[in-house]
């Protein structure tokens, strides 16, 4: 009866020794692992200042973005004001030039009529010395026509130049779209940086949201591909696409017409 009771204790002891062996192995392994763990702790301790620097740097960079956005917006506004002023001057000069050209035309017409009157007087009083003097001192119709043509050509050249200035001022609209695109890009970067800050420190994102909001809602209408390019090939390309499309549409209409029949 006693033998039966002692029998299970032998395997139990055996198991205990095995567990103690495992424990010993664990401690031995742990002892070997301690330097590695220490290295990890040291590395993490060394990383904390670096992470703080990164955090600070991101916060600072993010904080600068709204200022840059405001500056870009003010550049857009300033160029629009400047372009409007230039257009005022160009419009004024164009109107003045047109007045000059009209007056010149009127003057030429009047002088021409005066010349014809003088010719009639010459025909009527060929020997009158006063009329002879008037003919000699009066304007030569040929010279007058030549001067008129030269002045008109020059005026048209100036008019063309003024129009070219107006055409070139389209650059303002195109660059403002490019700047709006840059602002949009900065907002995207700010959003990304904000989420990064959120991962690092929740307090920072709160501060960030309060201090560094970029409002560019008014500038959302832009073409990021807008380019100032006066090359005629761009319009030629558009014309080709338009023509091709119109031909396709015509063919489609014809096909539809016949399919109905």
């Amino acid at each position: 009866m006693e033998d039966v009771q002692k029998m299970p204790q032998i395997p139990n002891m055996q198991q205990l020794f095995e567990r103690l062996g495992d424990l010993k192995s664990f401690f031995v392994y742990g002892q070997k692992l301690i330097p590695t763990l220490q290295k990890i702790v040291d590395f993490m301790q060394a990383t904390i200042p670096l992470l703080e620097t990164v955090n600070k740097s991101i916060t600072e960079s993010t904080g600068k973005l709204p200022k840059a956005a405001v500056q870009i917006n003010s550049v857009t506004n300033a160029t629009e004001v400047a372009v409007t002023e230039i257009l005022d001057v160009v419009d004024g000069a164009t109107n003045d030039l047109m007045t000059i050209m009209k007056k010149l035309e009127s003057l030429r017409s009047r002088v021409q009529k005066q010349g014809e009157s003088i010719q009639r007087l010459v025909a009527k009083y060929p020997d009158d010395p006063d009329i002879k003097e008037l003919v000699q001192n009066g304007l030569n119709p040929e010279v007058l026509q030549q001067d008129y043509t030269e002045v008109m050509n020059l005026s048209e050249k100036i008019q063309g130049g003024l129009m070219n200035i107006t055409i070139s001022l389209q650059v303002q609209d195109i660059t403002s779209q490019q700047l709006a695109s840059a602002n949009h890009l900065m907002t995207s970067i700010q959003t990304k940086l904000s989420s990064l800050l959120f991962d690092i420190d929740t307090k920072e994102i709160m501060k960030h949201h309060i201090d560094t909001h970029i409002d560019i809602s008014k500038d959302l209408a832009f073409n990021p591909e807008a380019r100032y390019d006066k090359n005629h090939e761009n319009q030629a390309f558009v014309d080709t696409v338009v023509t091709d499309n119109q031909i396709q549409q015509s063919q489609k209409d014809i096909d539809e017409l016949f399919s109905k029949k």
Partner: protein
Amino acid sequence: MALKFLVVDDSVTMRRIVLNSLKQIGHEEFVEAADGREAFTKLSADDGINFVITDWNMPDVTGLDFVKQVRANPKYASLPILMVTTRGMKEDIVEALQAKVNNYIVKPFTPQVLREKIEQIIATPVA
């Protein structure tokens, strides 16, 4: 026939340049709008408008949406519409044509090109 233009562009500069160009090629009657919404309101209020020149990229209602809105109304089925925009990609042009703009100009443009396109549109018989 005298043309009365509705010039739609969010840029004050561009509206002025389009107007100057129209004046230079002999047109005198204009109505201006800064976006598609304002344009549709002005178009609805003025039966004298018989030609539209519109930009594409505008806040609120874009030029393309404005064109679609206009074409959705049978009253404006044959109203000439010219798109003047910085968008010069083939898919943009095709999209505008599918929305039923009559012709397309890419910025920067010259008054000569503007005149040419207006004349082309006027000369094309309405389908």
